[in-house]
Chain length 92, copies 14
């Protein structure tokens, strides 16, 4: 049962840390872009539509790096090939 608990604990640790560390960059980057967008709107209200459109396309791009982390994190929790292998071999 040793290698099962080892792989299990490591999976828990990595699943948590991946999304925790991976949320710092996107959150700060999005915060910066958002704040500048609001600033730009105040300067040039007539361009609010273009600014909003560019903002959300850009935010989606930044968010994508957070989503890479979230995907890897969920793969590790629910579709972890190493865990599957270890369980199957330990079952019998």
């Amino acid at each position: 049962m040793d290698s099962i608990s080892l792989v299990g604990t490591v999976s828990i640790i990595v699943a948590g840390l991946t999304i925790a560390i991976g949320s710092i960059g996107p959150a700060l980057g999005e915060g910066r872009a958002l704040s500048e967008a609001l600033n730009a709107m105040a300067q040039q209200p007539d361009e609010a539509d273009t600014i909003t459109r560019t903002l959300f396309v850009g935010l989606a791009m930044v968010e994508s790096t957070a989503i890479y982390c979230f995907v890897i994190s969920l793969i590790i929790v629910f579709a972890n090939p190493f865990w599957d292998f270890v369980i199957q071999n330990a079952a019998p």
Copy 2:
């Protein structure tokens, strides 16, 4: 009982650290966006509606990275597949 306490302790540690580390980025990012929004309102009071709307949509996007962390943290506490597996095998 060894592997149970190991998986248990690791789950507690990761559940806490994930949300703790994961709250730093979003909180700073939201604080920055919010402060700039208030600044923009003071500069261009007539655009307060557009600014507020963009602000809250954007904040929701930033908040999403914090929520990814919260979701992973709750999964680890209440729907942890590794913990379930270890308990089931240790039960009999």
Copy 3:
């Protein structure tokens, strides 16, 4: 009694660190937003109402990340499923 004290000590450590680390981001973010709000009021006194309303809705959003940490911290102290499991199995 070993696994009980292990889970117990880990719970204490994580409960404390989660809220300690988790308070840094929100506190700094709220401080920044608040300071900018006061600045905005001084620039545009007529908009004080809109600014205050947006400020407090925004602060509540930032505060939410601190509250996620507080919730996880209290769950770990008072409704910890791992601790409950370990106690029950150790009782008899």
Copy 4:
């Protein structure tokens, strides 16, 4: 007596560190808000009342994250469920 001293020492460490780390963010955030408030007053003396009121409501909100830490710290020292459990089981 081993598990008692373990839980005891960990409680002392966490009680201290929780409030120590948890005081950094609020203190810096409050200092920033306060300094901007004084600046705003100097710019717009007529709005001193509104500024002061908003400042103190905001400071209370920032202070709340420090108080979360203080509460957890006091719970760990004086109402620690893990310590109570360990003492009761060790008593007889």
Copy 5:
């Protein structure tokens, strides 16, 4: 005598570090607020009274986080429940 020296040494370490780390944030925050207050006075001498009053109420609020640390530190040195328990049980 082992658990006594363990609890004792840990108490000394935590008492010192709590106030040492806990003094960084408040000192920096107060320094910032104070410097801005002096700046504000130079800009708007007529408002010196309001500025001073707000400054000292605010400083007291920032100082409170340092005092939380000092309180916890003194509790650990002079009213430490864990130390009391360990001494009593070791006495006979």
Copy 6:
């Protein structure tokens, strides 16, 4: 079974950390570029088309470094030559 669990746990750890650390730089860089783009649009609305085009080509270039990390991370999880070798040799 020892070398299998070793390679497995290391693969999980590295897969998570690679994308977690690798998302910080691109997210911050994209956030900065995006915020400046919105600022530029507000200054020169007539150039919105050129700015948007250059922005998205440039973002793609920055995103490429995040994608290198994601590729390496997926290779480690699903096409890991070291894991394949270790499993094959352990199978018989």
Copy 7:
């Protein structure tokens, strides 16, 4: 003699580090306040009296956090209850 040297060495370490770490924040904070005071005097020479008075009251408040550290440090060296207890019990 073991627990005596342990408590002794720990007391020395903590006494030194407490004041060393605890002097960073106040020194930086006071330096900032002082530099701004001099700047304010140069801007508004007529207010030199008010500025000086506020400066020294404020510096005393910042200094207080350094003094908390110094007090704890001296208590640990000269009035350490844990050291007293350990010596008394080891004497006979």
Copy 8:
């Protein structure tokens, strides 16, 4: 089988960390250059062609440092001379 798993695990760790750490610098550098390019375009729309051309040649140069890391990372995964040597000697 010991030296095989050792070299294998180390290869996985280094392959991931090399590209993860190596993506931070280029991503930040490119983000900075890109943001300044957009700023320059807004200031001098007539020079958009020269700016874009210089930007992409320069980005390629910055990207080259990320590509060095990617190359080393792929060499370690797919053309690792140390791994080849260890496998060959362990085969018979």
Copy 9:
């Protein structure tokens, strides 16, 4: 002789580190105050006397935190109660 060399080495380490770490804050703080004083003199030569007087009183206050460290450092080298106790008990 073991506990003597332990206390001795720890005393040397702490004596050095206390003053080394403790000199960073005051030196930076004094450098900042001094530089601003010179700046203020250049702006307002007529106030040179008031500025100089305030500067040196303030520098003395900042220096005091360095002196706390120096005092603790010298106490540890030349009037260390723990060292005295250990030597006396080891002498006979």
Copy 10:
């Protein structure tokens, strides 16, 4: 076979870290120079030729430090004298 795997693993680690760490400085430095070049072009379009020429000669100079790292990294992977020596002595 021990010293072979030791030298091999160390070579892999160093080859990766050298280029990973070594790419941070040049990438940031080049990004800065590039961004300033684009800024300069926007200010002084007539000097675009001189600026571009100086930029690329300078970038080559900055890139040289990255290339030193790449050279050392490749030497360690493909022309490592220590590895050659260890293999030759282990062969017979």
Copy 11:
């Protein structure tokens, strides 16, 4: 001979680190003050005498913290009471 070499090595380490760490703060602080002094001279050449005089008195005050470190460092090398005690007791 054990305790002699222990005390000796520790003395060497601390002597070096004390002055190494202790030189960072004063050097940066003096560099800042010096640079501002030169700036002030360029602004107000007629006050060069007052500025120079204040500068050197202030630099001496900053230098004093470096000298505290140097003194402690030399005491540890050439007048170390712990070393003297250990040598005397080991001699016979």
Copy 12:
């Protein structure tokens, strides 16, 4: 063979880290100087010759610190006196 592999591995590690760490400072410094040179050219096109000449002489001086690191790194790989000594003594 033990001391050979020890000296060998250490040589590899140090050769890589020396140039990796040593490239950070010069790359950043050169990037800064280069960016300012381009800025200066845009401000004063007539002085382009003097600026370029001073720039390259200065860059050579900054580069020299990177070259010191490269020299030490190559000495460690190809002309390492410690390695030569260890090989000669191990040969017979």
Copy 13:
């Protein structure tokens, strides 16, 4: 021979690190002062003599902290009292 190699290795480590760490502060401080001096000269060419004189006297003062480190470093290599003592006692 054990204590000789211990003291020797420690002396080598400390000699190198002392000057390495000790060169960071002075180099940065001097670079700052020098850059400001050149700036001041450009602003006030007529004061070049006074500025140069003050600069070099000040640089000498900053350099002194680097020289303290160099002196301690050379003392440790060539006039190390601890090394002399250990050699003498080991000789016979």
Copy 14:
């Protein structure tokens, strides 16, 4: 042969790290001074001679701290008294 390889490996490590760490400060300091010199030239072309002369004298002074490190590094590689002593005693 043990103490020889120990002293040898330590010498290699320290030789590399001394120059690596020691090159960061001077490179950054020189880059700053150089960039400001170019800036000054652009502002005051007529003073180019005085600026260049002061720049190179100052750079030599900053470079001296890098050269201290290089000297110590070469002494450790080629004129290391500890290594000489250890070799001589091990020879017979």
